[in-house]
Symmetry: C2
């Protein structure tokens, strides 16, 4: 099952020419989830050939402009391009008001319904679930209320060994039951164990997205064992004081979070405009957590 | 005196990869005025090396997203980059509410004051004036309240003929008076006419910006004789019905407006995403008004 993330923006609030503010597309089994939606996200989707009409869920971490200012434009364009199927939006309660006022004054009546679900910062909540994935909020600590999002794949059914099933001529309607663990008895009364006809399913994987946060360690439990951790890395560690003053994280801290959370892969993003070259930041993170990567525009990472 | 316009965006509401939504920078005597501010305008300013801190006046024509969604991001970035000098914003009254709510929820207290001045659509008003220019609204007709903007240079003083003034050793403090038309009498009582010591000043020029409008001819008087007319040209003339239904203009109509207004130069913009190639649109306009040009991203036009 496909499970990967494509980076649409890697910059923090102050703009820099060749970077865009935060946005990511998560592809889970060919369903697209948009995480944050900085200004220019719809242009980035066009740039990378990602069909925005395939997005059905949007997750907004907090109400700093570099994480949501592209949302009204994207929603308007979906409307102009004929969308009728609903869009679910998860974000801080006030986001609804911000959207409503802008659609009101532009006299835009969207042709499709928006299902808005407010997120909260008291404690982690399960906010979305389908056959493939569960999404929970991660409680972060920033200058304003902010949540991350944890995407956990659901355990899949066992995988059929096609050759065995074909050799035994097992009826098609038995397959889903065998996948679920039922043994198969043929017309002569011979029993074939499900375990022999199938292999173990893929282990469910987890993507944890920590957008803007001071490194307070409190969210460590919530991201424990994430296969891929995206963590903001606004500054390098010589700017620790500035990071703390602005409720941000350094690359070394992000690496320590990944290490202590026992993550398998760390994606660094939300880079301050002061860093034109990002290699030193990457090396700093790798000194502590070797499987660190730069979450740069246009790159796709398998979870 | 410098008077030119640089195009930052040429697309209409539906996005297209290589075009940006509407925004223009007017340079009047090295002062920068921003006209409309579609999503991504701050990135476009970076792209073309235009220092956004030099902008002191912003004019927003109406509240369709492709004309203002870049504003909150731009204002926030100016704040983050240390701006303290005031910014004047002219636009529909509701724009203030849209800005306020977003700064409130992002807990942004701008370090610089915003002087907001509401525009109205009952009749044309003088909304700004400095030593170089007067700005008046143009009453357009769109699906929601919309104004264009007319920038009229002020008449300059007469221009000194340097060689004559130097040959006569005329004291420096006399120069401003001679420029204003006073004759000069030297120590021997000889009179030199201001007209002989100076040449005529440049004729004041006019830039008329007509963002989104149905071609109703009512605004013709307000743009009469504009040196440069920017006029929306969302569709070609075979789509006249669609243009009228959506309160937009065709390229042929824009050319007829320029012709009847006796403009000297026509800039076409706000192109529908359906037109990947714009040459046919340009040719259509030129068939009626030869000095038509495409207002494409990055191009600068002298008024």
């Amino acid at each position: 099952m496909r499970f990967d993330v494509t980076i649409l923006g890697s910059s923090s609030a102050t703009p820099i020419f060749n970077r865009n503010p935060t946005a990511q597309i998560l592809n889970i089994n060919e369903r697209l989830f948009l995480i944050d939606c900085g200004e220019g996200t719809q242009q980035q989707l066009l740039r990378y050939g990602i069909k925005s009409q395939r997005i059905n869920q949007i997750f907004i971490s907090h109400l700093h402009g570099d994480h949501y200012l592209g949302l009204v434009g994207l929603l308007s364009s979906l409307h102009l391009n004929g969308r009728v199927k609903p869009m679910s939006i998860f974000g801080p309660p006030e986001l609804k008001e911000i959207l409503d006022i802008q659609f009101k004054y532009s006299q835009t009546e969207l042709r499709y319904p928006i299902n808005f679900q407010a997120t909260h910062t008291e404690s982690s909540e399960l906010i979305f679930e389908n056959n493939d994935v569960m999404v929970e909020t991660i409680i972060l600590e920033h200058r304003i209320p902010c949540t991350g999002f944890k995407f956990t794949q659901k355990k899949r059914l066992r995988k059929i060994i096609r050759e065995k099933v074909e050799a035994l001529n097992i009826p098609l309607d038995m397959i889903p039951l065998i996948k679920r663990g039922m043994d198969y008895t043929d017309s002569k009364g011979l029993v074939y164990l499900s375990a022999d006809l199938t292999t173990d399913p893929d282990e469910p994987k987890t993507y944890a997205y920590c957008s803007d946060t001071i490194c307070n360690w409190k969210y460590l439990d919530q991201i424990k064992g994430a296969d891929t951790l995206y963590h903001e890395s606004t500054f390098m560690h010589d700017m620790l004081q500035r990071a703390e003053d602005t409720f941000h994280t350094t690359s070394l801290q992000a690496a320590e979070v990944a290490l202590r959370a026992e993550a398998k892969q760390l994606l660094l993003g939300h880079f301050s405009a002061r860093y034109r070259e990002l290699e030193p930041m990457l090396l700093e993170a790798r000194s502590l957590f070797p499987n660190s990567k730069l979450a740069i525009e246009g790159h796709t990472f398998e979870i």
